[in-house]
Protein backbone atom coordinates (compact mmCIF):
# COMPACT_ATOMS: atom_id res chain seq x y z
CA UNK A 1 0.00 0.00 0.00
CA UNK A 2 1.03 3.62 -0.64
CA UNK A 3 1.64 6.14 2.10
CA UNK A 4 -1.76 7.42 3.25
CA UNK A 5 -2.68 10.88 1.95
CA UNK A 6 -4.53 11.68 5.13
CA UNK A 7 -3.79 10.48 8.63
CA UNK A 8 -6.04 11.44 11.53
CA UNK A 9 -4.64 10.64 14.96
CA UNK A 10 -6.48 10.83 18.30
CA UNK A 11 -8.42 13.88 17.18
CA UNK A 12 -10.43 15.44 19.98
CA UNK A 13 -12.50 18.59 20.01
CA UNK A 14 -14.26 19.84 23.11
CA UNK A 15 -16.52 22.87 23.07
CA UNK A 16 -17.63 24.64 26.19
CA UNK A 17 -21.34 25.21 26.16
CA UNK A 18 -21.59 27.57 29.09
CA UNK A 19 -19.89 25.50 31.77
CA UNK A 20 -20.70 22.11 30.30
CA UNK A 21 -18.01 20.58 28.06
CA UNK A 22 -19.37 19.09 24.84
CA UNK A 23 -17.19 16.42 23.24
CA UNK A 24 -17.79 16.96 19.54
CA UNK A 25 -14.93 14.63 18.66
CA UNK A 26 -13.50 12.03 20.95
CA UNK A 27 -10.21 10.37 20.08
CA UNK A 28 -10.83 9.80 16.37
CA UNK A 29 -8.13 8.09 14.29
CA UNK A 30 -8.16 6.78 10.72
CA UNK A 31 -6.11 6.79 7.48
CA UNK A 32 -7.13 7.59 3.92
CA UNK A 33 -5.20 6.23 0.93
CA UNK A 34 -4.58 8.15 -2.26
CA UNK A 35 -7.45 7.80 -4.73
CA UNK A 36 -9.94 6.64 -2.12
CA UNK A 37 -13.58 7.64 -2.49
CA UNK A 38 -15.05 7.49 0.99
CA UNK A 39 -17.93 8.89 2.98
CA UNK A 40 -18.48 9.84 6.58
CA UNK A 41 -22.04 9.37 7.73
CA UNK A 42 -23.88 9.78 10.99
CA UNK A 43 -26.78 11.65 12.55
CA UNK A 44 -26.61 15.39 13.20
CA UNK A 45 -24.34 16.15 16.10
CA UNK A 46 -22.30 13.02 15.61
CA UNK A 47 -19.23 15.14 14.91
CA UNK A 48 -18.83 14.55 11.17
CA UNK A 49 -18.90 18.23 10.23
CA UNK A 50 -16.51 19.09 13.06
CA UNK A 51 -14.15 16.42 11.76
CA UNK A 52 -14.32 17.92 8.28
CA UNK A 53 -13.53 21.42 9.62
CA UNK A 54 -10.43 20.07 11.40
CA UNK A 55 -9.18 18.33 8.25
CA UNK A 56 -9.95 21.43 6.19
CA UNK A 57 -8.07 23.74 8.58
CA UNK A 58 -11.21 25.70 9.29
CA UNK A 59 -11.00 24.94 12.98
CA UNK A 60 -8.38 23.83 15.48
CA UNK A 61 -8.66 20.60 17.49
CA UNK A 62 -8.36 20.47 21.27
CA UNK A 63 -5.84 17.67 20.91
CA UNK A 64 -4.64 15.11 18.38
CA UNK A 65 -3.27 15.68 14.92
CA UNK A 66 -4.10 15.61 11.23
CA UNK A 67 -1.39 14.83 8.64
CA UNK A 68 -1.88 15.52 4.94
CA UNK A 69 0.95 14.25 2.73
CA UNK A 70 2.95 13.74 5.95
CA UNK A 71 2.64 17.40 6.90
CA UNK A 72 1.10 17.90 10.31
CA UNK A 73 -1.41 20.58 9.40
CA UNK A 74 -2.78 20.88 12.91
CA UNK A 75 0.59 22.29 13.96
CA UNK A 76 0.68 24.86 11.16
CA UNK A 77 1.22 28.48 12.06
CA UNK A 78 -1.60 30.93 11.40
CA UNK A 79 0.40 32.44 8.54
CA UNK A 80 0.89 29.07 6.84
CA UNK A 81 -2.76 28.13 6.94
CA UNK A 82 -3.88 29.90 3.74
CA UNK A 83 -1.10 28.26 1.76
CA UNK A 84 -2.03 24.81 3.11
CA UNK A 85 -5.69 25.39 2.31
CA UNK A 86 -4.76 26.34 -1.24
CA UNK A 87 -2.37 23.49 -1.87
CA UNK A 88 -3.77 20.58 0.08
CA UNK A 89 -7.51 20.99 0.21
CA UNK A 90 -10.36 21.49 -2.20
CA UNK A 91 -13.71 22.30 -0.68
CA UNK A 92 -17.14 21.45 -2.04
CA UNK A 93 -20.01 22.82 0.01
CA UNK A 94 -23.65 21.98 0.40
CA UNK A 95 -24.74 25.48 -0.65
CA UNK A 96 -22.22 25.55 -3.52
CA UNK A 97 -20.83 28.84 -2.16
CA UNK A 98 -20.02 30.35 -5.49
CA UNK A 99 -19.43 34.11 -5.57
CA UNK A 100 -22.68 35.44 -6.98
CA UNK A 101 -21.13 38.37 -8.82
CA UNK A 102 -18.66 36.27 -10.76
CA UNK A 103 -19.27 33.98 -13.73
CA UNK A 104 -18.60 30.22 -13.57
CA UNK A 105 -15.25 30.79 -15.26
CA UNK A 106 -14.26 33.57 -12.84
CA UNK A 107 -15.30 31.50 -9.84
CA UNK A 108 -12.78 28.85 -10.86
CA UNK A 109 -10.22 31.45 -11.85
CA UNK A 110 -10.34 33.30 -8.53
CA UNK A 111 -9.20 30.27 -6.53
CA UNK A 112 -6.04 30.08 -8.61
CA UNK A 113 -5.33 33.79 -8.20
CA UNK A 114 -4.64 33.28 -4.53
CA UNK A 115 -2.12 30.61 -5.49
CA UNK A 116 -0.45 33.24 -7.75
CA UNK A 117 -0.92 31.13 -10.86
CA UNK A 118 -0.08 33.18 -13.98
CA UNK A 119 -3.06 34.44 -15.94
CA UNK A 120 -2.61 32.27 -19.02
CA UNK A 121 -2.26 29.10 -17.02
CA UNK A 122 -5.31 30.01 -14.95
CA UNK A 123 -7.38 30.50 -18.06
CA UNK A 124 -6.24 27.26 -19.62
CA UNK A 125 -6.88 25.27 -16.45
CA UNK A 126 -10.29 26.80 -15.79
CA UNK A 127 -11.47 26.11 -19.32
CA UNK A 128 -10.11 22.58 -19.14
CA UNK A 129 -11.81 21.82 -15.82
CA UNK A 130 -15.14 23.34 -16.74
CA UNK A 131 -15.11 21.45 -20.02
CA UNK A 132 -14.34 18.27 -18.12
CA UNK A 133 -17.40 19.03 -15.92
CA UNK A 134 -19.52 19.41 -19.07
CA UNK A 135 -19.90 23.16 -18.60
CA UNK A 136 -18.04 24.35 -21.69
CA UNK A 137 -21.01 26.37 -22.87
CA UNK A 138 -21.97 27.71 -19.42
CA UNK A 139 -18.67 29.37 -18.50
CA UNK A 140 -19.86 32.92 -19.00
CA UNK A 141 -22.95 32.47 -16.83
CA UNK A 142 -23.38 33.75 -13.30
CA UNK A 143 -24.40 31.28 -10.56
CA UNK A 144 -27.96 32.63 -10.58
CA UNK A 145 -28.24 31.53 -14.22
CA UNK A 146 -27.03 28.00 -13.49
CA UNK A 147 -28.99 25.01 -12.22
CA UNK A 148 -28.07 23.42 -8.87
CA UNK A 149 -26.20 20.65 -10.62
CA UNK A 150 -24.28 23.11 -12.78
CA UNK A 151 -23.40 25.21 -9.77
CA UNK A 152 -22.11 22.19 -7.89
CA UNK A 153 -20.06 21.12 -10.87
CA UNK A 154 -18.57 24.61 -11.04
CA UNK A 155 -17.73 24.29 -7.35
CA UNK A 156 -16.06 20.92 -7.99
CA UNK A 157 -14.03 22.46 -10.84
CA UNK A 158 -12.98 25.19 -8.44
CA UNK A 159 -12.01 22.65 -5.78
CA UNK A 160 -9.83 20.82 -8.30
CA UNK A 161 -8.15 23.92 -9.71
CA UNK A 162 -5.10 24.01 -7.44
CA UNK A 163 -4.41 20.24 -7.61
CA UNK A 164 -5.32 19.56 -3.96
CA UNK A 165 -4.21 16.45 -2.11
CA UNK A 166 -7.75 15.82 -0.94
CA UNK A 167 -11.24 17.02 -1.78
CA UNK A 168 -13.56 17.59 1.14
CA UNK A 169 -17.22 17.61 0.20
CA UNK A 170 -19.70 18.67 2.86
CA UNK A 171 -23.17 17.38 1.94
CA UNK A 172 -22.49 18.00 -1.76
CA UNK A 173 -25.88 16.62 -2.73
CA UNK A 174 -27.90 18.24 0.04
CA UNK A 175 -29.47 20.83 -2.24
CA UNK A 176 -30.07 18.97 -5.47
CA UNK A 177 -32.68 16.55 -6.82
CA UNK A 178 -32.01 12.79 -7.00
CA UNK A 179 -31.09 12.83 -10.69
CA UNK A 180 -28.50 15.55 -10.18
CA UNK A 181 -27.37 13.79 -7.03
CA UNK A 182 -26.54 10.64 -8.97
CA UNK A 183 -24.72 12.66 -11.57
CA UNK A 184 -22.58 14.41 -8.95
CA UNK A 185 -21.78 11.17 -7.14
CA UNK A 186 -20.79 9.55 -10.44
CA UNK A 187 -18.62 12.52 -11.23
CA UNK A 188 -16.88 12.31 -7.85
CA UNK A 189 -16.36 8.58 -8.30
CA UNK A 190 -14.85 9.16 -11.73
CA UNK A 191 -12.48 11.73 -10.23
CA UNK A 192 -11.37 9.23 -7.61
CA UNK A 193 -10.72 6.69 -10.33
CA UNK A 194 -8.46 9.30 -11.93
CA UNK A 195 -6.50 9.42 -8.69
CA UNK A 196 -8.19 12.17 -6.66
CA UNK A 197 -8.80 11.48 -3.02
CA UNK A 198 -12.36 12.35 -2.09
CA UNK A 199 -13.95 12.54 1.32
CA UNK A 200 -17.71 13.13 1.41
CA UNK A 201 -19.68 13.98 4.52
CA UNK A 202 -23.34 13.09 4.07
CA UNK A 203 -26.39 11.83 5.85
CA UNK A 204 -27.82 10.48 2.62
CA UNK A 205 -27.29 6.71 2.75
CA UNK A 206 -27.92 6.43 -1.00
CA UNK A 207 -24.83 8.61 -1.55
CA UNK A 208 -22.77 6.73 1.03
CA UNK A 209 -23.62 3.38 -0.58
CA UNK A 210 -21.91 4.52 -3.76
CA UNK A 211 -18.59 5.21 -2.07
CA UNK A 212 -15.87 2.67 -1.54
CA UNK A 213 -15.66 3.10 2.19
CA UNK A 214 -18.12 4.31 4.82
CA UNK A 215 -17.12 5.63 8.23
CA UNK A 216 -20.12 5.91 10.54
CA UNK A 217 -19.87 8.34 13.39
CA UNK A 218 -21.86 8.56 16.60
CA UNK A 219 -21.35 10.83 19.58
CA UNK A 220 -17.99 12.07 18.37
CA UNK A 221 -16.54 8.60 17.86
CA UNK A 222 -16.18 6.21 14.95
CA UNK A 223 -18.88 3.59 15.26
CA UNK A 224 -17.93 1.58 12.22
CA UNK A 225 -15.49 1.73 9.30
CA UNK A 226 -16.61 -0.49 6.38
CA UNK A 227 -14.97 -0.99 3.05
Amino acid sequence: MDEPVLRVRNLTKTYMQGKIPVHALNDVSFDVEKGEFMSIVGPSGSGKSTLLSMIGLLDKPTSGSVFIDDKEITKAKESEVPKLRREKIGFVFQHFNLIPTLTAFENVDVAMRFARVPKNERKQRAVELLTQMGLADRMKHKPSELSGGEQQRTAIARALSNHPAIILADEPTGEVDTKTRDMIVNLLRKLSEEGHTILVVTHDTAVAQQTGRIITMRDGMIESDKT
Partner: protein, 383 residues
Protein backbone atom coordinates in the same frame (compact mmCIF):
# COMPACT_ATOMS: atom_id res chain seq x y z
CA UNK B 1 -7.02 41.67 -8.42
CA UNK B 2 -7.88 45.12 -9.76
CA UNK B 3 -10.73 43.80 -11.90
CA UNK B 4 -12.28 42.23 -8.80
CA UNK B 5 -12.06 45.52 -6.92
CA UNK B 6 -13.68 47.35 -9.79
CA UNK B 7 -16.41 44.77 -10.02
CA UNK B 8 -17.14 44.94 -6.33
CA UNK B 9 -17.50 48.68 -6.21
CA UNK B 10 -19.71 48.78 -9.26
CA UNK B 11 -21.93 46.13 -7.71
CA UNK B 12 -23.83 48.66 -5.58
CA UNK B 13 -23.87 51.64 -7.85
CA UNK B 14 -26.00 54.04 -5.83
CA UNK B 15 -24.23 53.39 -2.58
CA UNK B 16 -20.77 53.64 -4.11
CA UNK B 17 -21.86 56.73 -5.99
CA UNK B 18 -23.04 58.46 -2.84
CA UNK B 19 -19.78 57.71 -1.02
CA UNK B 20 -17.73 58.96 -3.93
CA UNK B 21 -19.87 62.06 -4.01
CA UNK B 22 -19.22 62.57 -0.30
CA UNK B 23 -15.47 62.49 -0.85
CA UNK B 24 -15.84 64.65 -3.95
CA UNK B 25 -17.63 67.34 -1.93
CA UNK B 26 -14.90 67.28 0.67
CA UNK B 27 -12.15 67.57 -1.91
CA UNK B 28 -14.15 70.25 -3.67
CA UNK B 29 -14.01 72.24 -0.44
CA UNK B 30 -10.28 71.57 -0.13
CA UNK B 31 -9.70 72.86 -3.67
CA UNK B 32 -11.83 75.99 -3.30
CA UNK B 33 -10.62 76.91 0.19
CA UNK B 34 -7.08 75.83 -0.58
CA UNK B 35 -7.17 77.80 -3.82
CA UNK B 36 -8.13 80.88 -1.87
CA UNK B 37 -5.36 80.51 0.66
CA UNK B 38 -2.85 79.68 -2.09
CA UNK B 39 -3.86 82.86 -3.85
CA UNK B 40 -3.30 84.97 -0.76
CA UNK B 41 -0.04 83.25 -0.06
CA UNK B 42 1.23 83.88 -3.54
CA UNK B 43 0.08 87.50 -3.65
CA UNK B 44 1.82 88.24 -0.40
CA UNK B 45 4.90 86.35 -1.41
CA UNK B 46 5.20 88.34 -4.65
CA UNK B 47 4.37 91.58 -2.89
CA UNK B 48 7.04 90.94 -0.32
CA UNK B 49 9.58 90.14 -2.97
CA UNK B 50 8.80 93.46 -4.65
CA UNK B 51 9.61 95.42 -1.50
CA UNK B 52 12.11 92.97 -0.06
CA UNK B 53 14.99 95.35 -0.48
CA UNK B 54 13.39 98.23 1.42
CA UNK B 55 12.77 99.05 5.05
CA UNK B 56 9.34 100.31 5.94
CA UNK B 57 9.25 103.21 8.36
CA UNK B 58 5.87 103.66 10.00
CA UNK B 59 4.54 106.20 12.48
CA UNK B 60 4.65 105.06 16.06
CA UNK B 61 0.96 104.66 16.77
CA UNK B 62 0.02 107.33 19.26
CA UNK B 63 -3.22 108.32 20.84
CA UNK B 64 -4.22 110.43 17.88
CA UNK B 65 -3.72 107.83 15.23
CA UNK B 66 -1.02 107.48 12.70
CA UNK B 67 0.57 110.44 11.08
CA UNK B 68 4.03 110.78 9.69
CA UNK B 69 5.45 114.00 8.39
CA UNK B 70 7.14 113.94 5.05
CA UNK B 71 10.11 115.73 6.57
CA UNK B 72 10.94 112.51 8.42
CA UNK B 73 12.02 111.10 5.08
CA UNK B 74 15.00 113.42 4.93
CA UNK B 75 15.80 112.54 8.56
CA UNK B 76 15.81 108.89 7.64
CA UNK B 77 17.90 109.58 4.58
CA UNK B 78 20.60 111.25 6.68
CA UNK B 79 21.26 108.07 8.65
CA UNK B 80 24.45 106.36 7.47
CA UNK B 81 23.66 103.26 5.43
CA UNK B 82 20.46 104.67 3.91
CA UNK B 83 20.95 105.36 0.24
CA UNK B 84 17.50 106.77 -0.35
CA UNK B 85 14.27 107.38 1.54
CA UNK B 86 10.91 108.70 0.41
CA UNK B 87 7.37 108.87 1.70
CA UNK B 88 4.31 107.24 0.21
CA UNK B 89 0.64 107.91 0.81
CA UNK B 90 -1.86 105.14 0.56
CA UNK B 91 -5.64 105.40 0.44
CA UNK B 92 -8.37 103.01 -0.68
CA UNK B 93 -9.81 103.84 -4.09
CA UNK B 94 -13.29 103.40 -2.74
CA UNK B 95 -13.43 105.73 0.28
CA UNK B 96 -16.20 103.62 1.82
CA UNK B 97 -14.12 100.46 1.88
CA UNK B 98 -11.92 99.41 4.74
CA UNK B 99 -9.04 98.90 2.44
CA UNK B 100 -8.54 95.15 2.61
CA UNK B 101 -7.92 93.56 -0.72
CA UNK B 102 -9.47 96.36 -2.72
CA UNK B 103 -7.79 98.79 -5.10
CA UNK B 104 -5.44 101.32 -3.55
CA UNK B 105 -4.44 104.79 -4.60
CA UNK B 106 -0.74 105.19 -3.85
CA UNK B 107 0.96 108.56 -3.84
CA UNK B 108 4.61 108.27 -4.86
CA UNK B 109 7.17 111.00 -5.58
CA UNK B 110 7.39 110.76 -9.41
CA UNK B 111 11.18 110.82 -9.39
CA UNK B 112 11.16 107.70 -7.18
CA UNK B 113 9.02 105.63 -9.57
CA UNK B 114 11.99 103.58 -10.75
CA UNK B 115 12.83 102.57 -7.19
CA UNK B 116 9.21 101.73 -6.38
CA UNK B 117 8.42 99.72 -9.47
CA UNK B 118 11.74 97.88 -9.40
CA UNK B 119 11.60 95.51 -12.35
CA UNK B 120 7.85 95.81 -12.97
CA UNK B 121 7.37 96.80 -16.58
CA UNK B 122 4.69 98.92 -18.19
CA UNK B 123 2.61 97.33 -20.91
CA UNK B 124 1.42 100.70 -22.14
CA UNK B 125 2.32 104.34 -21.86
CA UNK B 126 4.94 105.82 -19.61
CA UNK B 127 5.83 106.19 -15.98
CA UNK B 128 5.12 109.27 -13.87
CA UNK B 129 7.47 112.19 -14.29
CA UNK B 130 8.04 115.31 -12.23
CA UNK B 131 5.35 117.84 -13.02
CA UNK B 132 2.58 115.28 -13.53
CA UNK B 133 -0.41 116.34 -11.52
CA UNK B 134 -3.64 114.52 -12.06
CA UNK B 135 -1.98 111.68 -13.89
CA UNK B 136 -1.86 108.04 -12.88
CA UNK B 137 -0.08 104.78 -13.63
CA UNK B 138 -2.46 101.89 -12.97
CA UNK B 139 -2.13 98.20 -12.18
CA UNK B 140 -3.30 95.44 -14.54
CA UNK B 141 -6.39 94.53 -12.47
CA UNK B 142 -7.48 98.14 -12.29
CA UNK B 143 -7.09 98.47 -16.04
CA UNK B 144 -9.21 95.38 -16.60
CA UNK B 145 -11.81 96.28 -14.00
CA UNK B 146 -12.50 99.75 -15.38
CA UNK B 147 -11.55 98.88 -18.93
CA UNK B 148 -8.89 101.58 -19.09
CA UNK B 149 -6.03 102.19 -21.47
CA UNK B 150 -3.29 104.76 -21.50
CA UNK B 151 -4.84 108.11 -22.35
CA UNK B 152 -8.23 107.31 -20.74
CA UNK B 153 -9.69 109.33 -17.92
CA UNK B 154 -10.34 107.81 -14.53
CA UNK B 155 -12.59 109.15 -11.80
CA UNK B 156 -11.19 109.11 -8.26
CA UNK B 157 -13.08 110.15 -5.14
CA UNK B 158 -11.83 111.46 -1.85
CA UNK B 159 -13.76 112.26 1.28
CA UNK B 160 -13.26 115.08 3.68
CA UNK B 161 -14.87 115.33 7.09
CA UNK B 162 -15.97 118.82 8.02
CA UNK B 163 -18.12 119.41 11.11
CA UNK B 164 -19.78 116.02 11.00
CA UNK B 165 -20.46 116.41 7.32
CA UNK B 166 -18.53 114.60 4.75
CA UNK B 167 -17.72 116.28 1.50
CA UNK B 168 -16.93 114.07 -1.45
CA UNK B 169 -14.41 115.39 -3.86
CA UNK B 170 -14.26 113.88 -7.34
CA UNK B 171 -11.44 114.40 -9.81
CA UNK B 172 -10.60 112.93 -13.16
CA UNK B 173 -7.10 111.53 -13.50
CA UNK B 174 -5.50 110.77 -16.84
CA UNK B 175 -4.05 107.29 -17.15
CA UNK B 176 -0.54 107.64 -18.54
CA UNK B 177 0.69 104.10 -18.05
CA UNK B 178 -0.47 100.56 -17.33
CA UNK B 179 1.68 98.10 -15.38
CA UNK B 180 2.13 94.46 -16.35
CA UNK B 181 0.51 91.68 -14.29
CA UNK B 182 2.64 90.99 -11.25
CA UNK B 183 0.45 88.88 -9.01
CA UNK B 184 1.11 91.37 -6.22
CA UNK B 185 -0.74 94.30 -4.67
CA UNK B 186 0.60 96.44 -7.56
CA UNK B 187 -2.11 94.95 -9.77
CA UNK B 188 -4.74 96.80 -7.76
CA UNK B 189 -2.71 99.98 -7.46
CA UNK B 190 -3.30 103.44 -8.91
CA UNK B 191 -0.04 105.32 -8.62
CA UNK B 192 -0.30 109.11 -8.62
CA UNK B 193 2.22 111.81 -7.70
CA UNK B 194 2.68 112.18 -3.94
CA UNK B 195 2.06 115.94 -3.80
CA UNK B 196 -1.16 115.54 -5.80
CA UNK B 197 -2.26 112.78 -3.46
CA UNK B 198 -1.54 114.89 -0.38
CA UNK B 199 -3.58 117.75 -1.81
CA UNK B 200 -6.38 115.55 -3.09
CA UNK B 201 -6.78 113.61 0.14
CA UNK B 202 -6.17 116.72 2.23
CA UNK B 203 -3.28 115.26 4.14
CA UNK B 204 -1.02 118.27 4.30
CA UNK B 205 2.55 117.11 4.39
CA UNK B 206 1.94 113.71 5.87
CA UNK B 207 2.65 110.30 4.37
CA UNK B 208 1.43 106.79 5.25
CA UNK B 209 4.91 105.34 5.47
CA UNK B 210 8.45 105.96 4.38
CA UNK B 211 10.50 103.47 2.41
CA UNK B 212 14.18 103.44 3.21
CA UNK B 213 16.51 101.88 0.65
CA UNK B 214 19.62 100.52 2.36
CA UNK B 215 23.08 100.78 0.87
CA UNK B 216 24.00 97.52 -0.85
CA UNK B 217 26.62 96.64 1.77
CA UNK B 218 24.46 97.50 4.77
CA UNK B 219 22.62 94.85 6.76
CA UNK B 220 18.94 95.88 6.49
CA UNK B 221 18.08 94.38 9.90
CA UNK B 222 20.68 96.43 11.66
CA UNK B 223 19.83 99.52 9.67
CA UNK B 224 16.16 99.17 10.64
CA UNK B 225 17.14 99.28 14.31
CA UNK B 226 19.40 102.23 13.70
CA UNK B 227 16.56 104.18 12.06
CA UNK B 228 14.26 103.45 14.97
CA UNK B 229 16.88 104.76 17.43
CA UNK B 230 17.79 107.87 15.51
CA UNK B 231 14.46 109.12 14.24
CA UNK B 232 11.83 110.04 16.79
CA UNK B 233 8.39 108.51 16.94
CA UNK B 234 8.80 105.93 14.23
CA UNK B 235 8.95 102.20 14.15
CA UNK B 236 10.46 100.17 11.39
CA UNK B 237 9.75 96.93 9.66
CA UNK B 238 12.79 95.38 8.14
CA UNK B 239 12.09 93.06 5.19
CA UNK B 240 12.51 90.02 7.46
CA UNK B 241 10.19 91.40 10.14
CA UNK B 242 7.58 92.25 7.56
CA UNK B 243 7.84 88.78 6.17
CA UNK B 244 7.38 87.03 9.52
CA UNK B 245 4.49 89.27 10.41
CA UNK B 246 2.65 88.63 7.17
CA UNK B 247 3.42 84.95 7.35
CA UNK B 248 1.96 84.71 10.82
CA UNK B 249 -1.34 86.17 9.74
CA UNK B 250 -1.31 84.03 6.63
CA UNK B 251 -0.79 80.88 8.63
CA UNK B 252 -3.87 81.63 10.70
CA UNK B 253 -5.87 82.34 7.58
CA UNK B 254 -4.63 79.16 5.95
CA UNK B 255 -5.42 77.14 9.06
CA UNK B 256 -8.96 78.44 9.26
CA UNK B 257 -9.77 77.83 5.61
CA UNK B 258 -8.05 74.50 5.39
CA UNK B 259 -9.48 73.10 8.61
CA UNK B 260 -12.98 73.80 7.33
CA UNK B 261 -12.11 72.02 4.12
CA UNK B 262 -10.43 69.10 5.87
CA UNK B 263 -13.47 68.70 8.09
CA UNK B 264 -15.64 68.38 4.99
CA UNK B 265 -13.28 65.82 3.52
CA UNK B 266 -13.23 63.78 6.74
CA UNK B 267 -17.01 63.60 6.67
CA UNK B 268 -16.65 62.25 3.14
CA UNK B 269 -14.18 59.70 4.50
CA UNK B 270 -16.67 58.58 7.13
CA UNK B 271 -19.21 57.92 4.43
CA UNK B 272 -16.69 55.68 2.68
CA UNK B 273 -16.07 53.85 5.93
CA UNK B 274 -19.78 53.36 6.41
CA UNK B 275 -20.20 52.01 2.91
CA UNK B 276 -17.27 49.68 3.31
CA UNK B 277 -18.51 48.37 6.66
CA UNK B 278 -21.90 47.64 5.15
CA UNK B 279 -20.41 45.98 2.15
CA UNK B 280 -18.05 43.90 4.28
CA UNK B 281 -20.80 42.67 6.57
CA UNK B 282 -22.97 41.88 3.57
CA UNK B 283 -20.16 39.83 2.12
CA UNK B 284 -19.27 37.98 5.33
CA UNK B 285 -19.87 34.69 3.58
CA UNK B 286 -17.87 35.68 0.55
CA UNK B 287 -14.81 36.60 2.60
CA UNK B 288 -15.11 33.37 4.60
CA UNK B 289 -15.28 31.47 1.36
CA UNK B 290 -12.25 33.27 -0.06
CA UNK B 291 -10.32 32.32 3.04
CA UNK B 292 -11.45 28.71 2.75
CA UNK B 293 -10.20 28.81 -0.85
CA UNK B 294 -6.82 29.84 0.52
CA UNK B 295 -6.86 33.64 0.26
CA UNK B 296 -4.11 35.21 2.34
CA UNK B 297 -4.97 37.91 4.83
CA UNK B 298 -3.13 40.38 2.60
CA UNK B 299 -5.25 39.38 -0.40
CA UNK B 300 -8.39 40.29 1.50
CA UNK B 301 -6.86 43.45 2.93
CA UNK B 302 -5.73 44.46 -0.53
CA UNK B 303 -9.16 43.88 -1.99
CA UNK B 304 -11.10 45.79 0.64
CA UNK B 305 -8.62 48.61 1.07
CA UNK B 306 -8.34 48.79 -2.70
CA UNK B 307 -12.09 49.34 -2.94
CA UNK B 308 -11.94 52.13 -0.41
CA UNK B 309 -8.87 53.71 -1.99
CA UNK B 310 -10.47 53.60 -5.41
CA UNK B 311 -13.58 55.32 -4.07
CA UNK B 312 -11.34 57.95 -2.49
CA UNK B 313 -9.42 58.41 -5.71
CA UNK B 314 -12.54 58.72 -7.85
CA UNK B 315 -14.03 61.16 -5.35
CA UNK B 316 -10.80 63.11 -5.37
CA UNK B 317 -10.73 63.37 -9.15
CA UNK B 318 -14.37 64.45 -9.23
CA UNK B 319 -13.78 66.98 -6.47
CA UNK B 320 -10.74 68.44 -8.19
CA UNK B 321 -12.59 68.72 -11.50
CA UNK B 322 -15.64 70.25 -9.81
CA UNK B 323 -13.60 72.58 -7.63
CA UNK B 324 -11.41 73.56 -10.57
CA UNK B 325 -14.45 74.37 -12.69
CA UNK B 326 -16.07 76.48 -9.97
CA UNK B 327 -12.83 78.31 -9.23
CA UNK B 328 -12.32 78.98 -12.93
CA UNK B 329 -15.85 80.39 -13.30
CA UNK B 330 -15.61 82.42 -10.10
CA UNK B 331 -12.24 83.87 -11.08
CA UNK B 332 -13.64 84.76 -14.46
CA UNK B 333 -16.59 86.48 -12.84
CA UNK B 334 -14.43 88.24 -10.26
CA UNK B 335 -11.80 89.28 -12.78
CA UNK B 336 -14.42 91.38 -14.53
CA UNK B 337 -14.89 93.09 -11.17
CA UNK B 338 -11.23 93.62 -10.56
CA UNK B 339 -10.17 90.88 -8.17
CA UNK B 340 -9.04 87.34 -8.40
CA UNK B 341 -9.53 85.18 -5.34
CA UNK B 342 -8.26 81.72 -6.17
CA UNK B 343 -5.11 80.16 -7.47
CA UNK B 344 -4.99 76.42 -8.05
CA UNK B 345 -1.39 75.38 -7.86
CA UNK B 346 -0.01 71.98 -8.90
CA UNK B 347 0.93 71.43 -5.28
CA UNK B 348 -2.71 71.91 -4.24
CA UNK B 349 -3.85 69.31 -6.77
CA UNK B 350 -1.23 66.82 -5.62
CA UNK B 351 -2.16 67.40 -1.99
CA UNK B 352 -5.88 66.94 -2.73
CA UNK B 353 -5.20 63.76 -4.68
CA UNK B 354 -2.99 62.22 -2.01
CA UNK B 355 -5.39 63.36 0.67
CA UNK B 356 -8.44 61.81 -0.99
CA UNK B 357 -6.70 58.50 -1.55
CA UNK B 358 -5.26 58.52 1.94
CA UNK B 359 -8.69 59.25 3.29
CA UNK B 360 -10.10 56.32 1.35
CA UNK B 361 -7.38 53.99 2.57
CA UNK B 362 -7.71 55.10 6.20
CA UNK B 363 -11.48 54.74 6.03
CA UNK B 364 -11.03 51.31 4.52
CA UNK B 365 -8.61 50.05 7.15
CA UNK B 366 -11.08 49.08 9.81
CA UNK B 367 -13.58 47.44 7.43
CA UNK B 368 -10.71 45.60 5.75
CA UNK B 369 -9.42 44.41 9.10
CA UNK B 370 -12.89 43.13 9.93
CA UNK B 371 -13.08 41.31 6.61
CA UNK B 372 -9.62 39.80 6.93
CA UNK B 373 -10.03 38.38 10.40
CA UNK B 374 -13.34 36.77 9.56
CA UNK B 375 -13.22 33.09 10.46
CA UNK B 376 -14.13 30.93 7.49
CA UNK B 377 -16.04 28.61 9.82
CA UNK B 378 -18.29 31.36 11.10
CA UNK B 379 -18.70 32.83 7.66
CA UNK B 380 -19.66 29.57 5.99
CA UNK B 381 -22.12 28.62 8.67
CA UNK B 382 -23.81 31.96 8.19
CA UNK B 383 -26.59 31.09 5.77
Amino acid sequence: MFDLILRNITQRKLRTGLSIFGIALGIFAVIVMGGMSEHFNMTFERSISLTADKIRVLPEVGLFGASLNESKASEVKRIPGVSDAYGMLQSPLDPESLGFGGDMVIGVPPEKMVSVLKDTKLTEGRSLVAGDNYRAVIGSSVAREFNLRAGDEMEIKSKKLERARSITNIRNFTVVGVMEYTGSFFDGGIIIPLDTAQKFYNRGNTVSFILAVPDPETDPEELARRIELNVEKVKTFSPAELKTQIEQSLIIFTLITLSAAVLAAIIGGLSVMNTMLMSVSERTKEFGLLKALGADTRDILFMTMGEAALMGLLGGILGIIGGGAVVYLLNDYLAARGTVLFTITPRLIVISMVFSMGLGIISGTYPAYRAAKMSPMEALRYE
